[in-house]
Amino acid sequence: MDAVSVRDLHVRRGKTEVFTALDLDIPRGQITGLLGPSGCGKTTLMRAIVGVQKIADGTVTVLGEPGGSRALRRRVAYDTQAASVYGDLTIQQNLRYFARLVGARHSDVDRVIEQVGLADQRDQTIDSLSGGQESRVSLAVAMLGAPELLVLDEPTVGLDPLLRAELWEVFRGLADAGATLIVSSHVMDEALRCDRLVLMRAGRIIADTTPDVLLADTGTTDPDAAFLALIERDARQQARGRDQADGSQASADAAEPHPLTRREAREQAEHPHSPAPERPPVAPSSDGESAP
């Protein structure tokens, strides 16, 4: 079963339709990168998954339960884009409060402070920290307890490359321990660290792929170029779709099987007769048709 399954999601904010019939599946135990230009709906999708977004229609199923239901509030952790911690409390006081809310052990506070590398600042108030440190505290809150799904909205924004690398090690460790991570970013080089990539543009999913397939598919070596190529391709398709009937290619991606991640492909190669893989061994580009 997938960690997250979104079906026919409609979201309206004010008069604008953010999503019209969005479908998406996010598998368990992996890091899924959510990428796209700002304003494309990444945050709205994350809010819908954690259950704080008002939705007009459609379903969001998270870990087998309706998104945002009471049973999920211990199993799902959310880190908002702006650091959502109390500025007038110390790092430790913030984490102790949230630990009590999610029922995490006291010792967990020390663990997450170590993991985000703020042990020396634990008694400083958030207001006295730099922006990068503040967002690391906010990230630490999401790592309290043992959430099965972590939804992290741009957790590494504004951090130096060394810290980013360290945090991605932490994310990898969480995924290896069985957690599912959804991480949004607009730093494209982070895309290569994900198992799976979901690229969004203007409220639609334009690709649900893996880093390798993305690069191969677009014939580029760097993620920035690959992403731009996809955006351009999508823009052309949109223009063509408008010329013809109202395009139905808008989001056929969720219906398509996921391409395999490197690890899945390797495991399948090693154990070709192991329990039936849900997905075909060849990795089709979820993008269906290629550019003209």
């Binding site: 008002k54 509030r73 952790a77 959310y78 880190d79 702006a82 109390y86 409390l89």
Partner: protein
Amino acid sequence: MNGMLTLATAGRVLRQLSHDPRSIVLMLVAPSLLVGLFAWLFSDQEGVFDQFGGPILALFPFIVMFLITSITTLRERRSGTLERLMTTPIAKADFILGYGLAFGLMATLQAVITVTFAVWVCGLEVEGPLWQLGLVAVVDAILGTALGLLASAFARTEFQAVQFMPLIVFPQIILGGLFMPREDMPEALYQISKVLPLSYAIDTINAVTAGDEGWDVFGPLLVVVAFAVGALILASLTLRRRTA
């Protein structure tokens, strides 16, 4: 609802306050200074402070707590922490009661200090027992907290929240019976004053200063409590897990 989470939230709010000593001093001392100013103003006119001093004691905690609560909870809505809380197991009632408890405690300290100052330093004369005066001040402060929580739901910015004060607080002061006995008001205004909680707070204070007992004191006080509970319930109903 979970009592532990209510207490954790109240503790967190107080801990936040403890990092802001200037606010604590203002909260605890400002009402006393204003009561002192009032007493000084009427120092040459026999009996005037005794008439107005009591109701003033009911007003300050109400106004101060209304402002503090509406602004702090609004800050929580805007900083994203409320959204994060809504994804955790905390119930809406835990959140509202946590705030109510923390500020209620501060209100109690404030009431004790202000009543003590009014009676011992300013020489306010009260026929009834002093603890009743303190009790009314505490209940008024809780009413202010409750209305402040409710008002913050309708404000999108701190600027709007502050504007709610004249809108919600001033009419209650004007119609509450402080400037004119409510019975002497034009009929329409008298009817309006009957649905404003502060009118009952001032009735209670007047009953205590006049030395009334029993139902004359606790009847109107219960009405104030009912208003506060109603505002708290409404406040937790206006709190939404899902927002647009």
